[in-house]
């Protein structure tokens, strides 16, 4: 949406070629889903879709911070596992515990992001390796903490965010809390990335760290902040996923790559410098819409995988082509 507004301001008429194609793709997919399954137009249809997409969308928006800063964060999937398992250990089905467990989880997320960032900045280990190590370590830690199987239940107060929908709301009939969380967190991440200095600093260090340093940007601070935002978004995603479906030790697996895929679909440039939070959220919704459509079409899982592989390559190849054209014009 942001790009729309800026473009409207920049040019009197909208230049269609400059709108991020992910929005068109998403719109087309949604039309295709509705044609295949008219029920999707019902509130339960699209609201359930948004509820399920919320964790990935938030995670991808967080991942975007690290991607724009020029790195990768592979540790977020394990972070989700750790949040769900850890919360179940700490709350132990005590509804009152949610009050302090959630802040503890955010603290833990901030710590993990801080460690990722500091290892990259000060030990100069490439983020791919750093977060790979963190992914393995956090996963081991989640298992170690729980002894390999969930040890407790998540109380309903905790599950509220991911599970509950407000019913009987006029017009939209139902409103999942997860959607409210998505909107709120999405707005915060949008504000932070596109309306604050921090966002600009993260863009600058991903674009050219030398320039950024000589211009007075505290490169390490910006980079560490990006990792912290990513980890914190994983905490939110974990709270939503744990809330949606309860405790398990396999929750969150594979989410890191889906998050990166979503960001790439949203036009984020790998290795830094460019990316948009709204487009990334649209990318996450697109990815979920593709999965949903393939499900409705009765496509087996292997086809899903092949399609995911192809769109991943195609999305980047197209971005490169668009960029090439820009440079020539």
């Amino acid at each position: 949406m942001n790009s729309l507004v800026t473009f409207a301001r920049r040019y009197t008429s909208i230049n269609w070629a400059n709108i991020n194609p992910v929005y068109f793709v998403l719109a087309a997919l949604i039309v295709a889903i509705i044609l295949n399954n008219p029920n999707f137009i019902e509130p339960t249809g699209y609201m359930n879709f948004l509820k399920r997409a919320a964790p990935l969308a938030i995670l991808a928006a967080g991942q975007l911070y690290v991607i724009v800063s020029g790195g990768f964060d592979l540790s977020v999937g394990s972070m989700i596992t750790l949040v769900v398992v850890g919360s179940s250990m700490l709350t132990n089905n005590d509804p009152a515990a949610t009050m302090w467990v959630i802040p503890v989880m955010f603290g833990m997320g901030a710590l993990v992001g801080l460690i990722n960032g500091m290892v990259v900045c000060y030990l100069r280990v490439p983020s791919l390796i750093t977060t790979l190590g963190m992914m393995i370590t956090l996963n081991g830690f989640a298992f170690l903490w729980s002894g390999g199987a969930p040890r407790g239940y998540l109380p309903d107060t905790f599950r509220f965010f991911g599970r509950v929908s407000y019913k009987d709301i006029p017009l939209i009939h139902m409103l999942p809390v997860a959607l409210i969380v998505l909107v709120v967190v999405g707005l915060i991440l949008y504000w932070l990335m596109h309306k604050t200095n921090l966002g600009r600093m993260i863009h600058a260090i991903g674009d050219n760290p030398n320039t950024a340093k000589l211009a007075g940007v505290s490169v390490n601070q910006a980079r560490i902040s990006a990792f912290i935002v990513s980890s914190l978004s994983a905490v939110v995603a974990g709270i939503l996923l744990g809330g949606f479906a309860g405790v398990s030790t396999s929750v969150g697996v594979g989410y890191e790559l889906q998050a990166i895929t979503a960001a790439v679909l949203g036009g984020a440039v790998l290795l830094g410098g460019r990316g948009s939070v709204p487009a990334t959220i649209a990318g996450a919704l697109t990815l979920m819409a593709i999965f949903t459509l393939l499900n409705f079409l009765g496509m087996p899982q292997p086809v899903r995988q092949i399609v995911q592989g192809l769109i991943l390559i195609a999305a980047v190849a197209l971005t490169m082509r668009r960029k090439g054209k820009h440079a020539n014009s």
Binding site: P126, S127, I129, L132, G133, I136, T137, G140, L144
Partner: protein, 330 residues
Amino acid sequence: MNTISLDKPLIKRRPFSFEKWAPALLLLTAIILYVVACIVTGQTQYLTLDNLLAVVGRSIALGITAIGQTFAILVASIDLSVASLISASAVLSSVVMNGNPDMVVPAIVLALILGAVVGLLNGLVITQLKVNPLIATLGMSLIIQGVLSAFVSNFAGSVPEEFQFFAYGSVFGLPFGTVFFFGLAFLAFFILRYTRFGSQIYAVGGNPDAARFAGISTTKMIVSAHIICSICAVIAGLYLASRLRSGAPWIGSDGLYDLESIAVVVIGGTILAGGRGGIWGTVAGMLIFSLVDSFFNIIEIDAFVKQVLRGVIIVAAVAFYSVKSRRAVA
């Protein structure tokens, strides 16, 4: 006309090259750790030659994959599709052989062709469509895995007794798999060190512009490196089919061969930016992985603690080099 790039202070390298010896130092540390663990726990039987060979033999498949991955990383690329390709190769060969010794050669040939095609596609997507190698090979990995699981969901086919020689046979009293691995490592070393092709691999990874100016086709080199990488993955798949007697669509991804092979290469001192590193570092990296695994077994560490430590070790080992470097990281 002037550039200021030369105006910066020059860092002269000492005759003792830290980066050159770092893999050896890390390996030495791992060996010491292993030996001390054996002595402290009183299990000196683990120090016999047979046992040390067994330690080396632990990660043959990982080692073979990592040799290929070294080529990809040396040209400043990376390959995440090796794990799926290992599964595909194991399944394909096992299904084609189907217990029939006459089909061993056709199966191997077919698998190698598969590897060459996958490597070619990876290389072309990266060089022609200009897709970031990480994404290109990740996409390829999903595609291979999808195609594979469309056809099989379990162990499929079987390898004949004769083919099990690859994993279980021995020559000169040494396990054939280990001999083969070192043979392959030596071949790779030879190619990198003693052929024009090897020289150009380094050139393309080190400074693509300089390579192009010297008349080297960077496209050709990147594609070739990916073909080599994929073929090594195929060989690793063949080895696993031989070792497991059959191929299943999960053996590559379950073995974490994609990320672990990258970790092995990086721990071996080859830098992700390309152009620097070598095969013996990768061999050292693979031995470090084996030794650490065996070390964990000897001290009977909890599986989950093991995982935590493994993550820490990978990061620490890489930090061992990188903390001194002045290259930009992200």
